[in-house]
Chain length 205, copies 3
């Protein structure tokens, strides 16, 4: 059976890997937000283009899941994995978009840590996706992503405490909270991807 369905299998693994590689690219764009002198409007344009490309890959997976008779693992798991990877990209794009839309000038300090977590999660996820085929060496991945999510959560909470400490104007708090919320959602979505991989692993092995 492994031999017979090999072609189908490989396509799915490649597409999931492609989705995760889009996230590495997205995270790199996100990091440019922190550089001084970045043209943020132009950056938001590139981010939007990256998000559209990622969307194409997601649609390709959905089409294949729905039209393929035998999939390497449960079709709802592929679908859940793919749509959660897509959510990560949406949240990354949203955060850059809101910075531009709200004309935010000074980003909160802790955001650097959030973006570092996102970059590391994206790399780990892109490295893990191809390992789904052999269903091996995945545990270190989901443990590390869960640990990173914890770190990200601490940064997020530190930022919130500062935002609500009374030093900021209410309107500024609303703007900045929306931006860091998007980043926090991106990190949470990475953790959900890792949890889905863990579940697939338990089921298939």
């Amino acid at each position: 059976m492994a031999f017979k369905f090999k072609p189908v299998d490989t396509a799915f693994y490649n597409l999931l890997t492609a989705q995760a590689v889009h996230l590495v690219e997205g995270a790199a764009l996100l990091a440019e937000l922190l550089d001084e002198g970045t043209d943020r409007t132009e950056l938001a344009g590139r981010m939007r283009a990256a998000e559209h490309e990622a969307d194409e890959t997601t649609h390709e997976i959905v089409r294949r899941v729905n039209s393929t008779f035998v999939t390497p693992f449960d079709r709802e798991d592929i679908y859940a994995l793919s749509s959660m990877l897509d959510d990560v990209m949406d949240y990354m794009e949203e955060s850059v978009d809101l910075v531009v839309l709200y004309e935010v000038e000074h980003l909160p300090e802790g955001m650097t840590e959030q973006i570092e977590v996102i970059q590391r999660c994206a790399e780990l996820t892109a490295e893990a996706m191809p390992r789904l085929q052999a269903m091996k060496d995945l545990e270190e991945y989901w443990i590390e992503v869960n640990r990173l999510e914890n770190t990200g959560d601490k940064s997020y909470r530190r930022i919130l405490a500062k935002l609500f400490s009374g030093k900021y104007e209410a309107l500024e708090v609303m703007k900045l909270k929306d931006v860091v919320d998007s980043l926090e959602h991106a990190i949470d979505a990475f953790e959900k991807v890792a949890n889905i991989v863990e579940q697939i692993h338990v089921k298939e092995s």
Copy 2:
């Protein structure tokens, strides 16, 4: 088989169509929000009644999905479709409710465009649901809803940019953002309905 289970099939299509027709009614009520001189408290009451009626139809579908042995397409797809149609209604009702609850006086301009998008999406959805039976002529529907969602998104972002431009008080921004967020969620839910229809189409054809 098609002959044997015809009665069951028709019931599901009729119920999904009924749900979408409730959305057309809900969208019409929503549009009354824009008319000068509308008694908004009374309108919120009619909206709530419409939402309750729509709920009844949703429950009827859930009961049937769970107690019917053979369904026209995957039971999780019927369930997903029905519960997303229900979400649209909830968001429409929420937006009117918040206007009354927060005692909002002046609605942001761009809201007119959001509501126009909702009305058009509701009509298209109500026209598409009966076509699920023959599983034909659906593509134009999901393409158009995706295009409308895009238009809605642009209106939403224009409203946000204005709300956060510094011309409004923070408390007013919070109130109006909650209202336009509900409308944006309604539009997003219409798009999700269209995506589910697209997936069913790929799977069944």
Copy 3:
């Protein structure tokens, strides 16, 4: 068949009951928030510990669902039930956490009613879970939880109306809204648990 799979069945019912019992404990901690003189930082620590314990039970269920060949009812229903029970705990923990993080001093009045609803829902849910095995006497449970959710919704809306009445500063409104939103989400999640139980009941009987 009932005899053959009895051992498996019992484990699942016990674990779901254990999850609901964690919610009763969590709701009791939540109620301490209302007592004068409570050390809220210490309380948040105990709440976090309770949430971690509940997480363990959730993971145990997920592991079993994925590695058990025959489950007492559809595996996606067990999974949905378990993950929704987990969501309730997360929202309860979040609400206490935000009170500490935002250094909220005065809680809005209506919060007492929200917490009473949560306590009652937790008790009813803990009593209902063991009855899943015989799939009997469950109707009163889901009807009552739906009624309680309605009561909770009324309290929530009264709190919102007051928060936005103009008597509070915008920053304070943002803080308090986040806290009462968490409680409202906990109540909504209890209702979703009850809806899932109703669906399982329709399907299995």
